[in-house]
């Protein structure tokens, strides 16, 4: 840059007032068949980018991004699994001398050495040769690292049943979006006694089953609420007999199209009958 005496500037800025011709660099400086970046090469890059974007959008449209049930810290049965690009580390920590009491070795020392070596590769592989065949140690170590990463990822994927996970942990959209009658007294009883486990939409979560479209009768529901079933302990329900009846009606009607049927505790037997009709009709 030209400096010193005789320079003229625009106002009091550092922008020079003298106009220089805007000449492009001489192409003969570059060997081979060079191409101007702007606009020739950029146009080709644009095309490659467009093809790439189309493929990417097809992937996006064909596979909607997954969303599991809302996080529930009390869900003891959940088996965690990280995103695929962390699986190699996750799998590595399962081995005897990398996890457990050797966790510092497996989680810090070994990955630290591997990624530290990657970070400092130019200072470890200092020779002037660039061809892979002329620097066997660096290339060999990198191939080993890549192979180990692939193999650990493969091992981890082998043990994970993604279809099963999607089925067990995925969101039951119908349950979440079904209309539940929240105006009646049954909802309040449900909210107080059952919602913390079976969910706001009766959808269940983890080991807690969904209560939507239950095939149990009102009496069976009453019995389960008081005495438990399977892993569900007895004595969860806390309230009067009238509330128990309201609860049983509420759960009986949920998901069978009966949610909006007034929801009052009056005319119980007729509601039960109608909801059973609804179920048998929707069953076909």
């Amino acid at each position: 840059m030209h400096r010193g005496k005789g320079m003229k500037f625009v106002g009091d800025s550092r922008v020079t007032a003298e106009k220089k011709a805007n000449l492009p660099k001489d192409y003969s400086e570059y060997p081979g068949r060079t191409e101007a970046f702007w606009p020739n090469f950029l146009l080709k890059e644009w095309l490659v980018g467009s093809v790439f974007l189309i493929g990417f959008l097809i992937l996006t449209a064909a596979h909607p991004s997954p969303l599991e049930q809302q996080a529930d810290p009390t869900n003891a049965g959940y088996i965690p699994l990280p995103d695929w690009y962390f699986l190699f580390l996750y799998q590595f920590l399962k081995y005897q001398y990398a996890g457990g009491e050797f966790i510092v070795l497996g989680a810090i020392v070994m990955p630290g050495l591997a990624f530290g070596a990657l970070l400092l590769a130019p200072f470890l592989d200092r020779g002037p040769e660039r061809r892979p065949t002329k620097r066997p140690i660096a290339v060999g170590l990198m191939l080993l690292g890549v192979f180990a990463t692939f193999w650990l990822t493969y091992e981890s994927v082998q043990h994970a049943d993604y279809a099963h996970r999607a089925e067990k942990y995925g969101v039951n959209v119908e349950a979440v979006e079904s209309e539940i009658d929240k105006s009646g007294p049954g909802w309040e009883v449900y909210e107080a006694n059952c919602m913390s486990c079976h969910g706001e939409a009766l959808q269940g979560q983890g080991n807690y089953p969904s209560l939507m479209d239950t095939e149990k009768s009102a009496d069976e529901i009453k019995d389960i609420a008081q005495n438990g079933i399977g892993q569900m302990p007895a004595g969860i329900f806390n309230g009067s007999d009238e509330e128990l009846q309201q609860l049983a009606d509420f759960i009986k009607n949920a998901g069978s199209g009966g949610g909006g049927e007034g929801g009052s505790s009056e005319g119980e037997s007729s509601e039960e009958g109608s909801s059973e009709d609804g179920e048998s009709a929707s069953g076909h």
Binding site: V10, S13, V15, N22, K25, Y27, E29, G32, R33, T34, E35, A36, F37, K44, E45, G49, F52, L53, F56, L59, T60, A61, H63, P64, S65, P66, L67, E68, Q70, A71, D72, P73, N75, I79, P80, L81, P82, D83, W84, Y85, F86, L89, I103, V104, I108, F115, L118, L119, A121, P122, D125, P128, R130, R131, P132, R135, M142, V171, V173, E177
Partner: protein, 224 residues
Amino acid sequence: MLQKLYDWVDERVDITPLWRDIADHEVPEHVNPAHHFSAFVYCFGGLTFFVTVIQILSGMFLTMYYVPDIENAWKSVYYLQREVAYGQIVRGMHHWGASLVIVMLFLHTLRVFFQGAYKKPRELNWVIGVLLFFVMLGLGFTGYLLPWDNKAYFATQVGLEIAAATPVIGDGIRTLLAGDPSIVGAQTLTRFFAIHVFFLPAALFGLMAFHFILIRKQGISGPL
């Protein structure tokens, strides 16, 4: 008209040299897939940048709906996914882009490594590139928690336990990331949100700027 406008700005700001630094250069034959198809390996870096731009744009739109609080985070994502026009596409782009950017970074790193392109005088740019890789992995890790579903919650818990295994400063790192020595909860979500949306992108932009300035300064490495 446009020329006049350009001249008016150029007289005051002298933008022509800036423009020439950015765009006015020659693309050598050995990196041009039009001449040698095998040169497609040189596309990986550019495609990484392309996916990064997709991530930035889709992420900006996601924050229009996302609520970083444990009551509403999952619900806002669910709403975005089910109710918002194109919400599923935008979230899908961000979700799959996160995987794709790792794939592209991996390929780009392997290309540079096996060609020995990190050798003198390009050592610094390699170090910056590996730091970019770490920042990307950090973005992947912090972004994983934000939907606040079971997968996010329990994977984050495992990740934090691994971080806590660091000798001496482990518990400090865990508290810094999670907001509490033992609980993964409301504080963790807001912290991960802040890290994912402000801290790491700031680091990413700074490192990317360095990365690109050095490429323009040193030029692309020659043919093998």
